[in-house]
């Protein structure tokens, strides 16, 4: 004789859970402060396209042409120019990390240009920091083109022959703004933290206390416990998604080009998957300490490191690329970014949506099965 689901009991469990969250400073901080902190830190500090790179210039030519070259660096906005002193070691500034790059212009730079010889200038980069080097090399080709035309204009009053102009246009994020790329991805990270981490603690806490026995000695049903326990975290997760959405739109002015329905639907699916993952951890481990560590390793870290949030999946070794496919975070990362920036619809997101739904079913089934097996006598 099974009793029917009783909403009142589920609500009682939920209410108690809210008290636990509100009265535990650690959980409360995790729930409220962390999302805000993540959005601020990641949104404001991660910049894949550094600006104001310090550049030390040794101009031995001191000609109109050499000044034009330096001027091009300066006006690109990417570099901040500082002149090196004569006789100083060329790499001294690099050594002391006073600059990231050195530009050396040999004497006779202008003369060579004037006589249509190959004129060149040397750029020395700090290879110890390979993340900026890659970006700087990318900038250099643009600067080279700009400088060539500028110098050519300055030297021969007769306009010289025009080279073929290369124009690149970046679709979806024309200014290549990193925050546009990062902030929509934060929805993934924040949900992963809140749902996996907090949920992983909730059932484990009852086992550790010994209060699960007491709960079970009342007619409360396992399903009511699950619903009651997860409801507050679901609300929290929904709140976090809305928070990230608002911060993205209002704070970082990220364009939203897709369907809100699709975005919030897939957020919901991802949220449910993460809650199930947390629940599974909690039910299986029954100890808060271990549950939290496992939640960190399987929920938080992959969502930051392996989801493509910062490090592109395409450049990972093959085994890792395969591994990322079983991470719900990877799929929701694609959906979130594409819906925001590309305005992608259901059809173009069929694969990530399908994968996310499949993982959702797997996690929810595993969690409820394990939970029922544990709690039913």
């Amino acid at each position: 004789m099974k009793q029917k689901f009783n909403l009142g009991r589920a609500v009682a469990v939920a209410k108690k859970e809210v008290f636990h969250v509100l009265r535990d400073p650690f959980t409360l901080a995790l729930a409220v402060v962390l999302p805000v902190l993540m959005v601020t830190v990641f949104g404001l500090t991660i910049d894949f396209n550094p600006r104001d790179i310090r550049l030390t210039v040794f101009d031995a030519d001191r000609s109109q042409a050499s000044r034009a070259l330096v001027e091009t660096f300066q006006s690109s906005g990417y570099f901040k120019v500082k002149y090196g002193r004569r006789g100083e070691s060329l790499v001294r500034d690099l050594d002391r990390e006073r600059s990231r790059a050195v530009l050396v212009i040999e004497p006779g730079f202008q003369r060579k240009i004037g006589s249509h010889l190959n004129a060149s200038a040397q750029v020395i980069l700090d290879g110890a920091d390979n993340s900026t080097v890659g970006v700087i090399i990318g900038y250099l080709s643009g600067i080279q083109r700009a400088a060539t035309s500028k110098i050519a204009k300055g030297i021969s009053s007769a306009s010289s022959e025009r080279g073929i102009g290369l124009r690149t246009r970046f679709l979806f994020n024309s200014e290549l703004r990193s925050d546009w790329f990062v902030v929509p991805g934060l929805a993934v990270v924040v949900i992963a933290i809140l749902s996996v981490l907090l949920t992983s603690l909730t059932i484990a806490r009852e086992w550790e206390n010994g209060s699960m026995e007491l709960l079970l000695s009342t007619p409360v049903q396992p399903f009511e416990i699950i619903v009651g326990k997860l409801a507050p975290y679901t609300l929290l997760g929904v709140g976090a998604v809305i928070f990230v959405y608002l911060v993205a739109r209002l704070g970082f002015e990220v364009p939203f080009r897709g369907s809100h329905l699709l975005f919030f639907f897939s957020s919901g699916v991802f949220l449910a998957t993460s809650l199930a993952q947390g629940l599974l951890i909690s039910v299986a481990l029954r100890k808060q300490q271990i549950a939290m560590q496992v939640a960190m390793i399987t929920g938080l870290l992959p969502s930051i490191l392996l989801s493509g949030f910062i490090f592109p999946i395409e450049s990972m070794p093959l085994p890792f690329r395969i591994l990322t496919s079983i991470l719900p975070a990877k799929w929701f990362m694609i959906i979130s970014r594409d819906v925001f920036l590309k305005g992608a619809g259901v059809i173009s997101l069929a694969l990530p949506l399908g994968a996310l739904l499949a993982l959702n079913i797997v996690f929810v089934t595993l969690a409820t099965r394990h939970f029922k097996k544990d709690l039913e006598p």
Binding site: R9, A12, V13, K15, F19, R23, G210, S211, S217, P219
Partner: protein, 309 residues
């Protein structure tokens, strides 16, 4: 005794966890309004038995019936008839007293008006005079235990299972708690208590002793003492000047059945009273010796040792 007087009935209960048999063909009945003590070492099967009776565990074999409801009627129905208080957990520390009680009441679906009446009545019953908005974490252990008892009987169960309810509280709080247990029993509730304290066991109407999954003795404390120790029992205390080898002489004395050390003293079970008294006069001069009534502790040592033999 009429049928309705029986409150807990256990027939051939066996609980196995894989290969391990925690409870082995146990049968007993508990009467309504009885204080039934459940004793035994950790791992003897006490808690497992209680978990079955509370509907937390299904028996591998056998039949249990609690307050007229058997496990075949559904464990949920059984759960409405029993109250359970465990040693491990009493109340949520980060909730106030009234939040804790309200939580239990909602899980048990007690209507609001009945809940507030019961709450008031029960808190008066335990003589609780603090604010209901006190956080449980601020309560002393003894009070916490009493409020926890209130939580476990809010739904007016017929049988209350208390699993080591007084572990870790002061002797004064223990005495108060046992006062409450007795009052509830008088009011008609069946109180099923496990304990490690012998003085608590003495206060039970009947006591069952469990060992290795079986009940090896079940009777009132008085009967247990009488039946286990039909012979007179003496306590002797050797003087500091006692000659070496005296203990061997006592053990070798034909009128002595058994000697058990109790700290500085010894309990001697005597076969023949007259011969023993002569022996004391002749051999144990300077010893303090007087007849004692066996304590439950004597009984359990005897029974468990006997079973081990």
């Amino acid at each position: 005794m009429s049928e309705s007087q029986i409150s807990v009935q256990v027939e051939n209960l066996t609980v196995k966890f894989q290969e391990f048999t925690a409870v082995d063909r146990v049968s007993f009945t508990v009467n309504r309004g009885e204080i039934f003590g459940f004793l035994g070492a950790n791992g003897a099967g006490k808690t497992t038995t209680i978990r079955v009776l509370c509907g937390l565990l299904l028996p591998t074999e056998g039949r249990v019936e609690v307050a007229g409801v058997s496990q075949d009627d559904g464990i949920d129905k059984m759960k409405t008839k029993v109250g359970y208080m465990s040693q491990k957990f009493t109340l949520y520390n980060d909730l106030t007293i009234s939040e804790n009680l309200a939580f239990t009441a909602s899980l048990r679906k007690i209507p609001d008006d009945i809940f507030s009446a019961r709450k008031k009545e029960l808190l008066e019953f335990i003589g609780f005079d603090q604010s209901l908005t006190t956080m449980v974490s601020e309560l002393p252990g003894g009070i916490k235990q009493q409020v926890s008892l209130v939580a476990s009987i809010l739904h007016d169960p017929e049988v209350v299972f208390l699993d080591e309810p007084t572990a870790g509280v002061t002797p004064a709080a223990r005495a108060r708690f046992w006062g409450l247990i007795q009052k509830l029993a008088v009011a008609g509730k069946t109180m099923f208590v496990t304990t490690h304290y012998m003085d608590e066991a003495e206060q039970c109407d009947r006591v069952a002793l469990m060992r290795a999954g079986q009940i090896i003795a079940l009777d009132s404390p008085e009967n247990l003492k009488r039946l286990t120790f039909p012979e007179p029992l003496f306590e002797i205390e050797p003087p500091s000047s006692a000659p070496s080898g005296w203990l061997e002489r006592v053990r070798g004395e034909p009128s002595v059945a058994e000697v058990q050390p109790y700290g500085q003293r010894y309990h001697v079970r005597v076969r023949d009273l007259a011969e023993w008294e002569t022996f004391v006069k002749q051999v144990l001069a300077g010893f303090r010796s007087h007849p004692i009534k066996p304590s439950l502790e004597d009984v359990f040592i005897r029974l468990v040792e006997g079973a081990n033999r």
